[in-house]
């Protein structure tokens, strides 16, 4: 399955990636190659094989329900470009 320019723009938008128009054909080709590889793998007969959810054949460990984290807001917010009243500020997201 070959991706069109439009598909590349959609994928980039979903990931909020800014891409240059001139790079689109190269992205389209690279991504199409990945899909081609997946298609190739689809040819393998997998009847009777249980789908994996994780490459490790292990089971999720669970933690006890205990509060172990302390408030480190000031520390974390040092990295934020803008904060006010304890809130992280981001560009407005609704019209």
């Amino acid at each position: 399955m070959a991706l069109e320019r439009e598909d590349v723009h959609t994928i980039a938008h979903l990931a909020r990636l800014a891409i240059e128009d001139e790079d689109v054909p190269a992205y389209a080709e690279n991504l199409s190659n990945i899909l081609a590889l997946v298609e190739q793998m689809s040819a393998v007969d997998t009847r009777g094989v249980e789908p994996m959810a994780h490459p490790l054949a292990m089971v999720q460990r669970l933690r006890e329900d205990e509060v172990t984290e302390e408030n480190q807001r000031e520390h974390f917010q040092q990295h934020a470009p803008a904060v006010e009243n304890g809130l992280y500020l981001v560009p407005k997201v609704i019209e």
């Binding site: 959609t10 979903l14 990931a15 909020r16 959810a53 994780h54 490459p55 490790l56 292990m58 089971v59 999720q60 460990r61 669970l62 933690r63 006890e64 329900d65 205990e66 509060v67 172990t68 984290e69 408030n71 480190q72 807001r73 974390f76 917010q77 803008a82 006010e84 009243n85 304890g86 809130l87 992280y88 500020l89 981001v90 560009p91 407005k92 997201v93 609704i94 019209e95």
Partner: protein, 481 residues
């Protein structure tokens, strides 16, 4: 044309854990912004989510309560979308293999009938943070305290056929999760919120119509109203020759209408895939059976027991089993007094009305079950009349002490001494000689009505304290004799 409404619900219940689903940050409501958002909740690089055991236990408890298949192996998946209150760019949720599979529960309809509603599934996921769109110099403020709070999303089959049924379903799930103690059920704080999918189709048609999803309804009444509005809107569109658009809508409670949420709706493309940070969750049979043994008495069973053991009507029993606290409260009062009907009347009447007025719940009632039982005991042993009891209740509500203290302090003890009542009657009759003559000259069949006047006067003179039965009896004897 006759239309049929089809409704399915997605209910988000916040699980009542102390810490978050994948981190050790606290989940307490109302903390200062971002003081309960740790590195995992912020989605900082290099962090690893670790699943909270208690969230798993609570999800399984719900599954058992609705007779569902429990997912012996369930998988967490990433649901990808962009929004700043979701710092990772994806929500950890479950997609193909949820922890709770197909189940069912029954809802009570207004006509006393019940109806079975299918549960499609219920899955564990993390909540997002909160965006505050007030004025921050044209920017949006983000509070991530809620990010990572465990949610159980309960998805129903499209089995409801009216707003009333949808509200009844929401009530039922609410009573179930609060009874199980897996959710605090606080609607105002957003611990329990409902999305409803609504569509209409010509009656008899098999295919569903195009649906609209109304998001984030946090009251039973709003669900009913939102559905009613939405159904009328969709029918008007179709009958006007138009087509219903599949979209997300919001309910405006002030205007009582739904409106489209986004001007340019993007098709959702969540690109789910298994989260490589989390391994499959495996639940052993032993674990399930151990939990089954801890299931409390569920609302349906309790309702039946209330009907049988206390002789309550189905309506009263359903009301009183609406939440575990309410059921516990009623049961304590009923057992302490041995007067189940009286206890039900007071809990559902005076007490519920006072709680509603104060906008508070039974758990925060200023009158405890023991205190209410104390009041009912005084009605039962004729110390006070039902009317005076309301006055005592008022005082108890305002913190003036137990029933006995209030009765004592305010001198409200019912007068049952015949001599004392007769003295009051004599005085009333002496002061109303003209009415007494009228009464005595009236036809016997008219007297019944006329005696009411004297009863009123005597009760007034005794400040409501005379035993009404005795007053009636003694007055009759004096007037007729």
């Amino acid at each position: 044309m006759e239309w049929e409404t089809v409704i399915g619900c997605e209910i988000h219940t916040q699980l009542a854990t102390k810490s978050k689903i994948f981190s050790g940050a606290a989940t307490a409501y109302g903390a200062e912004p971002n003081t309960q958002a740790c590195a995992v909740d912020l989605g900082l690089p290099g962090v690893l989510p670790v699943l909270n055991k208690e969230a798993v236990r609570m999800a399984v408890m719900f599954g058992l309560a609705v007779n569902a298949e429990i997912g012996k192996r369930s998988v967490f998946a990433r649901k990808n979308y962009f929004y700043p209150d979701l710092p990772k760019g994806y929500q950890i949720s479950q997609f193909e293999l949820p922890i709770v599979g197909k189940g069912e529960l029954s809802i009570e309809l207004e006509d006393g009938q019940s109806k079975v509603v299918g549960i499609t599934r219920a899955h564990l996921e993390e909540d997002a943070g909160k965006s505050l769109h007030e004025d921050f110099h044209g920017m949006t403020g983000i509070d991530l305290n809620r990010a990572g709070t465990p949610l159980l999303e309960i998805v129903s089959d499209p089995d409801m056929r009216s707003g009333k049924e949808a509200a009844a379903y929401m009530r039922k799930v609410h009573s179930l999760v609060t009874c199980l103690g897996i959710c605090d059920g606080n609607l105002q704080e957003g611990s329990f919120r409902c999305d409803v999918n609504v569509s209409v189709r010509p009656k008899g048609q098999a295919e569903y119509g195009t649906r609209a999803e109304i998001k984030n309804l946090n009251s039973f009444r709003f669900v009913e109203k939102a559905v009613e509005y939405e159904v009328a809107r969709q029918i008007a569109i179709i009958e006007g020759g138009g087509k219903v658009v599949q979209e997300t809508r919001l309910f405006d409670a002030d205007k009582g209408e739904t409106r489209s949420m986004r001007s340019k709706e993007e098709a959702n493309d969540y690109r789910y895939f298994p989260d490589p940070d989390l391994l499959p969750v495996v639940i052993e049979d032993d674990f399930i059976e151990a939990l089954r043994a801890t299931l409390p008495e569920l609302p349906d069973a309790r309702k039946l027991r209330f009907i049988e053991a206390f002789g309550l009507s189905a309506y009263d029993a359903a009301f009183l089993t609406g939440s575990r606290e309410l059921g516990d409260y009623f049961e304590a009062v009923a057992k302490a007094t041995g007067e189940a009907k009286l206890a039900a009347n007071w809990v559902m009447g005076e007490l519920s009305a006072a709680l509603n007025r104060a906008d508070t719940g039974i758990a925060d009632s200023p009158i405890s079950a023991v205190q209410l039982a104390g009041l009912i005991a005084r009605i039962k042993d004729n110390t006070i009349s039902g009317k005076i009891a309301k006055e005592v209740f008022e005082a108890m509500w305002n913190g003036e002490g137990d029933a006995d203290q209030v009765i004592d302090k305010k001198g409200l003890k019912q007068i049952t001494d015949s001599g004392a009542i007769e003295a009051i009657i004599d005085e009333v009759l002496a002061n109303n000689a003209a009415q007494v003559d009228n009464y005595r000259n009236a036809e016997p069949d008219k007297r019944g009505k006329m005696i009411g006047f004297f009863v009123g006067q005597v009760m007034k003179a005794s400040q409501g304290k005379a035993n009404p039965g005795q007053v009636n009896q003694l007055l009759k004897a004096k007037l007729d004799g």
